[in-house]
Symmetry: C2
Subunit: 326 residues, 2 copies
């Protein structure tokens, strides 16, 4: 594969080149990984998209919101990429963005690029590949990269680690109770967006929004926030209400962070985070080499038979692991 | 430290030796880790305790149940050790078993040994240390080792990976709805124990028990289960009702698994699991060596400044990592 040509195609905004590049970073074949690394190194890093993380449990209306929000941005002349991290994709084959028809208006737009979650791997692998896909979308000149995830488990953390602004999408709650959103996830949110503020659900949406606004006020003030943030607001993705207000808030926040040095500081910290993750991943990948695998299987048999202590056998194995094994 | 003497003390059933041994396996100091590994290798493996995993969210009455259940077992002449895995202990300083007064009757018994969750480390570290503490308790001749965890997050999985029998403790539900117990956790359970089947809550407990019995019937039949398992049953830890029935079920299940080869097969698979975890841990521990740390910090700075791509820098680093660095 001609990596330089592929890189040029991506920078020129060719959709096919971008899609091929993402397929490359998603592959786990060793030669593909090598080419993907070369591709990432070859791409220019000057253009920065606004990376928006978006988390919400199934049923809160993520697809409808992304479609409405994306169409609005495109109407303003912006180019929008939508990526996804589905922590369940390794088992179920993917439950989000697997079907482009979920966002069929957006999918038909030339200024939009929609890519489902990479599958067949664990969350760490999905996350790394999506982060690399974000880099590719930035090089391809997209203005906004939306990274979607379902709000279960740890996928919010990894999405927050690759976003400039993180939105938590909620549905109106039945009672006057917070929806069991974990504190850790609330602490990640820059803006809590209560969707479905339409029809019968409007009063409930209003109450939920007020509840979360109250809860957010109780959180410790973060350095990277101007006054008034994090905040809660209502939208109706269905009726396309509140979307331009949400976009204005995102822009206000992003602008303030740029002006006050937090944008670059956060991106630098995120780069460190992904570097550390990649180091750990590369270290553990040594265990996948055929010789290492065979040696491990042999020791594992002894451990299973009770002839070796698991901890001691592990320490001995790693002490002896050298380049010839890996 | 005289490891042989410590091992002999543990085998002789000396409480202080056992406590010191557990403190040793809980330490993260390199010299302590080495001694802990030697200790584990030095201990005889002949005596097998019945390892019972017990998971339940806060408020379901875990402490009361463990106290009542433990006192009953001691009354039958058995020796009982209680260990805990608290995934939140690294942050909060531990929320379970931190206070022995939670089980003050049991704590006063000579035939009982209660140890709070190790703290100040991530779940993987807590889990490994607790698994090693289980080994120590077995060598010390305990008949039953109860491993408690709070039912949030991934700690159930690691407890199930060190248990012969896994109990899921639930409280009576308000409505006729299942309590949002994740399918994965239900699939781990050998016996679902609905607590608080007393007073006003008795009808709700009965309904909840029937609901879960129904849900369990929908799960795929597992090879390691005799007819009738997994099952749901009611107890009242407070009124000490149903405890001997629960114990009889545990013994029936354990006996069947021993007779049919599943006991040893499961333990062998668990030993493999912990060996693999220990290998990964030992590999990643190389990054903690001073030279490796310094080299990583330097590269991380370049990555943060955008002068190196995170993925490429990581691959280069690991390729160059050799014994001289570690």
């Amino acid at each position: 594969m001609d990596i330089d040509k592929l890189a040029k195609g991506i920078v020129a905004g060719e959709r096919r080149a971008l899609a091929r590049g993402i397929t490359l970073v998603e592959s786990s074949r060793a030669d593909h990984r090598e080419q993907a690394t070369a591709l990432l190194a070859a791409l220019p890093k000057e253009h920065e998209a606004l990376r928006i993380g978006l988390s919400g449990t199934p049923g809160v209306g993520k697809s409808t919101l992304i479609e409405s929000f994306g169409m609005m941005l495109i109407g303003q002349g912006l180019r929008v990429a939508v990526l996804a991290i589905d922590p369940s994709s390794s088992r179920s084959g993917g439950s989000i963005l697997g079907d482009k028809t979920r966002m069929d208006l957006l999918a038909r737009e030339r200024a939009a690029f929609i890519r489902p979650s990479p599958s067949q791997t664990h969350l760490g692998g999905v996350a790394r590949r999506t982060r690399e896909a974000v880099t590719l979308c930035e090089a391809a000149g997209f203005d906004v990269v939306l990274i979607e995830t379902v709000g279960v488990g740890q996928s919010e953390t990894v999405v927050a680690e690759m976003s400039d602004v993180f939105l938590l999408l909620l549905a109106p709650a039945g009672g006057d109770e917070l929806q069991g959103v974990k504190r850790g996830i609330m602490e990640m949110a820059d803006i809590i967006v209560v969707n479905k503020a339409d029809g019968d659900l409007k009063p409930a949406a209003s109450r939920t929004c007020a509840d979360y606004a109250g809860a957010l006020r109780l959180l410790r003030k973060r350095l990277q926030d101007p006054d008034g943030f994090p905040k809660a607001m209502m939208v109706s993705a269905l009726e396309e209400n509140g979307l331009s207000e949400a976009w204005a808030e995102v822009q206000t926040l992003a602008g303030w962070r740029k002006d006050h040095g937090f944008w670059q500081r956060t991106r630098a910290a995120q780069a460190r985070y992904w570097f550390e993750q990649a180091v750990k991943h590369a270290l553990l990948a040594q265990l996948e080499a055929p010789k290492a695998k065979a040696a491990l299987a042999e020791l594992s048999d002894l451990v299973a038979q009770g002839l070796e202590d698991p901890t001691k056998a592990a320490l001995d194995f790693v002490a002896q692991l050298d380049r010839s094994l890996a």
